[in-house]
C-alpha cells in the first residue's frame, strides 16, 4: 500500500510550468532522494508536498488521506531547511520543543523527547544556547533534532548539507544515513549532489524541467539509465557519449538497429587507454587527474570528442601524448534518436 502518493501533480509560477504532472509512490520507511540540475523543480516538488506552495493540479495522499490542499501545519510532516531556519530568538531547547509545545504536549514528555533527540545528535551540552552561539554543523543538527522530536509521518530535507564544508558534509551524510536506519522514518531528501543521492537513497528520483526522468535504486540508475540525460547526470565523471554516426563501423555494428541514429554511452571505467594501435579509437591525452586511488585520463579522440577513462593504476602519461583507446563494448549503453535507452 502506498504511504505517500503523488498523482498528476502540477505547479505553475505565472506562465512558467514548473512541475509538469508528477506521479510517484513512496513506501513507508523509504529514503527517497530527489535529484536533478538546478531549476529542475526538485525543491518545488518538496515544497508542494510540504504544503508551502499550492498544488495547482493533481492530488496528494498520505496514508490514503487526501492532503492536497491541507495547511502545512496540519500535514504532520517535518522539514529541514537548507538555511536551517532555526528560530533565532529561542534557545536550542525551545527550538526543538516548539512543535510539541504547539501540539500542547505536557512539559515532562517534551523534556524527555528533546533530551532523547539531543542525546542522539550530541546536542546535550548546547540546549540552553541560542542558534547564533552554535557552529554551522551544530545548527544543522538542531534543525534535524527539531524534526526528529516531532516523530512526523515524513521527514523532508531540502538540500540540508549544502551550507556545510566538505568534511562536515561527508560526516553529516553518514549521520543522516545512520539516523534513518535507527528511526526507520519515511524520508524525502532533495539534493543536487549525486554522491548524496547515491549513498543515502533507497530510491532516487531524477528530475529535469519539472518531469521525472527516471525512478530507481541508485545502482539501477547507474547501471541501467533510462535515457541519455540520466546516463550523463548520474555518475562522476559523466558517462562518455558518442553520436552513432561518428563511430567506426566496427563499433556501431555491436549496437541494436534502433541505435543507428542515436548514440552510444560508455562509463569511464569501461574505457581504457592502451598502447598505440591496440584500441578501437585513437587520440591524444588532454589531461591526467591523479586522484590517488584512481586516475582519470581525458583523451581528445580523433572523432573530435573529449572522452574520459578511469583506471585504478597510476599513469605515466603526459598531456599531448598520442594514445589508443580500448572500449569495452559489452558494457555499452545504446540510445535511440530520442535519447531513450534501447537494449542491444
Amino acid at each position: 500500500m502506498a504511504y505517500l502518493q503523488l498523482q498528476g501533480i502540477e505547479k505553475f509560477f505565472g506562465e512558467h510550468h514548473a512541475i509538469k504532472g508528477i506521479d510517484l509512490t513512496i513506501e513507508q520507511g523509504e529514503f527517497m532522494v530527489f535529484v536533478g540540475p538546478s531549476g529542475c523543480g526538485k525543491s518545488t516538488l518538496l515544497r508542494l508536498i510540504a504544503g508551502l506552495e499550492r498544488i495547482d493540479h493533481g492530488q496528494l495522499h498520505l496514508q490514503q488521506r487526501e492532503i492536497t490542499h491541507l495547511a502545512s501545519s496540519q500535514r504532520d510532516l517535518a522539514m529541514v531547511f537548507q538555511s536551517y531556519a532555526l528560530y533565532p530568538h529561542m534557545s536550542v531547547f525551545e527550538n526543538m520543543s516548539f512543535a510539541l509545545k504547539l501540539a500542547k504536549v505536557d512539559a515532562n514528555t517534551i523534556q524527555q523527547k528533546v533530551q532523547r533527540a539531543a542525546d542522539i545528535l550530541n546536542l546535550g551540552a548546547y540546549l540552553q544556547r541560542t542558534p547564533r552561539e552554535l557552529s554551522g554543523g551544530q545548527r544543522q543538527r538542531v534543525a534535524i533534532g527539531r524534526a526528529i522530536v516531532r516523530e512526523p509521518k515524513v521527514f523532508l530535507f531540502d538540500e540540508p548539507l549544502s551550507n556545510l564544508d566538505a568534511a562536515l558534509r561527508g560526516q553529516t551524510r553518514v549521520e543522516i544515513a545512520k539516523l534513518h536506519r535507527e528511526l526507520g522514518a519515511t524520508t524525502i531528501y532533495v539534493t543536487h549532489d549525486q554522491v548524496e543521492a547515491m549513498t543515502l537513497a533507497d530510491r532516487v528520483v531524477v528530475l529535469r524541467d519539472g518531469v521525472i526522468e527516471q525512478v530507481g535504486t541508485p545502482l539501477n540508475l547507474y547501471d541501467r539509465p533510462a535515457n541519455q540525460f540520466v546516463a550523463q547526470f548520474i555518475g562522476t565523471p559523466p558517462m562518455n557519449l558518442w553520436p552513432s554516426q561518428q563511430l567506426p563501423a566496427g563499433v556501431i555494428q555491436h549496437g541494436p538497429p534502433a541505435a543507428q541514429q542515436g548514440a552510444m554511452g560508455l562509463r569511464a571505467e569501461h574505457v581504457s587507454v592502451t598502447a598505440m594501435g591496440q584500441g578501437q579509437l585513437s587520440g591524444t591525452v588532454e589531461l591526467v587527474e591523479a586522484l590517488g586511488a584512481e586516475t582519470l585520463i581525458y583523451v581528445n579522440s580523433d572523432l573530435g570528442q573529449l572522452l574520459v577513462a578511469r583506471q585504478n593504476e597510476r599513469s605515466e602519461l603526459r598531456p599531448g601524448q598520442p594514445v589508443s583507446v580500448q572500449l569495452d563494448l559489452s558494457r555499452a549503453h545504446w540510445f535511440d534518436a530520442k535519447g531513450l535507452a534501447v537494449t542491444a
Binding site: 510540504a50 504544503g51 508551502l52 501545519s73 496540519q74 517535518a78 531547511f81 530568538h89 516548539f98
Partner: protein
C-alpha cells in the same frame, strides 16, 4: 616618534570631532535658545544684545497654565498620538506582512503608490478633509485628529515594517508552519518577537510624528480637541509676540516627547537604520 601617518590620523580624528560638535551645536541651538528664553521675563527675552546671565523665573510657566488649560491640551496630545499609533500599527502590521511574505506582481507598485501620497503637501487635501470633518461633525474632536494622524502615518509605517519584515528569512516562518503553527501562533511566537525592535521603533516614530503634528491640529481643532501644537500656536497671537511665554509653552509641549524619546533613542536609531547594515 613623529610618524606622519599617525599625525594625519590624529588630525582627522580631531577634525571629525570638531565637525560633529559643530553640527550638534547647530542642531541644539534653537532648542537651547528656547530653553533659556522660557526662563526669562518678556523684557529680557527681547533684549538686544541678548542677555546670557539672568535670574531665571518660573513666571511664564505659571502664566501659561493660568491662561490656558495645559493639561487639556496635553491629554488631547497623548490620546490622539497614542491611539493613532496603536490603530496605525494594527493596520500596518498585517499590510506589511502580506507585502513582505506574499509578494504579488504589484506589491512594489502599491508600496510606491502609498509612499507617493506622502509627497503631496498636506494643504492640498485640506479643503476636502475639512469639509468631511465638518459634515460628519468631527471638527474640534480628538477623533478627527486620530483618523487623520493614522491615515497620514500609514504609508511610513507600512514602509518601515515592510523593510523590517523583508529582512526576516521566509524559511523561519515556513519552519513555524511546518512545526504546526497556525497564522496567529506564527505571528505571536515567531514573527512579532523577531520584529520587536522594528515594531517598537516604528511605533515610537509615529508617536513622535503625531505628537509634533501641527498642520491638521491647527486646522481641524481649536479649544476642545486641540493638541499641544495648537497651544503653542495660540501664543504667537495677533496681540503681539510674547517670546518668553511662547517659549515656555513650547517647552511644556515638547518636554514629554523629548523625555520619552531620550529613553527610547536606542530603539529609534535601530529602527531608522534597520536593514542598512546586516
Amino acid at each position: 616618534m613623529h610618524d606622519p601617518t599617525l599625525i594625519r590620523q590624529n588630525l582627522m580624528q580631531w577634525l571629525r570631532t570638531l565637525v560633529a560638535w559643530l553640527v550638534a551645536l547647530l542642531l541644539f541651538f534653537p532648542l537651547g535658545w528656547l530653553l533659556l528664553t522660557a526662563f526669562k521675563t518678556e523684557l529680557q527675552a527681547i533684549a538686544v544684545p541678548p542677555e546670557w546671565l539672568f535670574a531665571p523665573t518660573l513666571e511664564n510657566f505659571h502664566e501659561v497654565q493660568e491662561r490656558s488649560d495645559y493639561l487639556l491640551y496635553a491629554k488631547n496630545s497623548v490620546i490622539t498620538s497614542v491611539v493613532s499609533t496603536l490603530l496605525g500599527m494594527l493596520i500596518a502590521t498585517p499590510a506589511a506582512y502580506a507585502m513582505a511574505f506574499f509578494k504579488g506582481k504589484h506589491t512594489k507598485d502599491i508600496l510606491m503608490w502609498m509612499l507617493s501620497t506622502k509627497m503631496m503637501p498636506a494643504v492640498g487635501a485640506l479643503v476636502p478633509v475639512y469639509v468631511l470633518a465638518q459634515k460628519s461633525h468631527l471638527l474640534d474632536t480628538q477623533l478627527a485628529l486620530i483618523i487623520v494622524f493614522t491615515l497620514s502615518n500609514l504609508p511610513i509605517m507600512v514602509w518601515m515594517l515592510f523593510s523590517q519584515f523583508k529582512d526576516i528569512p521566509h524559511e523561519i516562518l515556513e519552519a513555524a508552519r511546518m512545526d504546526g503553527a497556525g497564522l496567529w501562533q506564527e505571528w505571536r511566537m515567531v514573527l512579532l518577537p523577531l520584529a520587536m525592535g522594528g515594531l517598537a521603533s516604528t511605533g515610537l516614530l509615529c508617536l513622535v510624528l503625531s505628537w509634533n503634528e501641527a498642520f491638521w491640529s491647527l486646522n481641524l481643532t481649536a479649544a476642545k480637541g486641540g493638541t499641544l501644537a495648537t497651544l503653542i500656536a495660540s501664543y504667537s497671537s495677533p496681540e503681539g509676540l510674547f517670546w518668553a511665554k511662547l517659549s515656555a509653552a513650547s517647552l511644556m509641549a515638547i518636554a514629554p516627547i523629548v523625555v520619552f524619546g531620550w529613553f527610547s533613542q536606542k530603539q529609534l536609531v535601530q529602527g531608522l537604520t534597520f536593514g542598512a547594515v546586516k
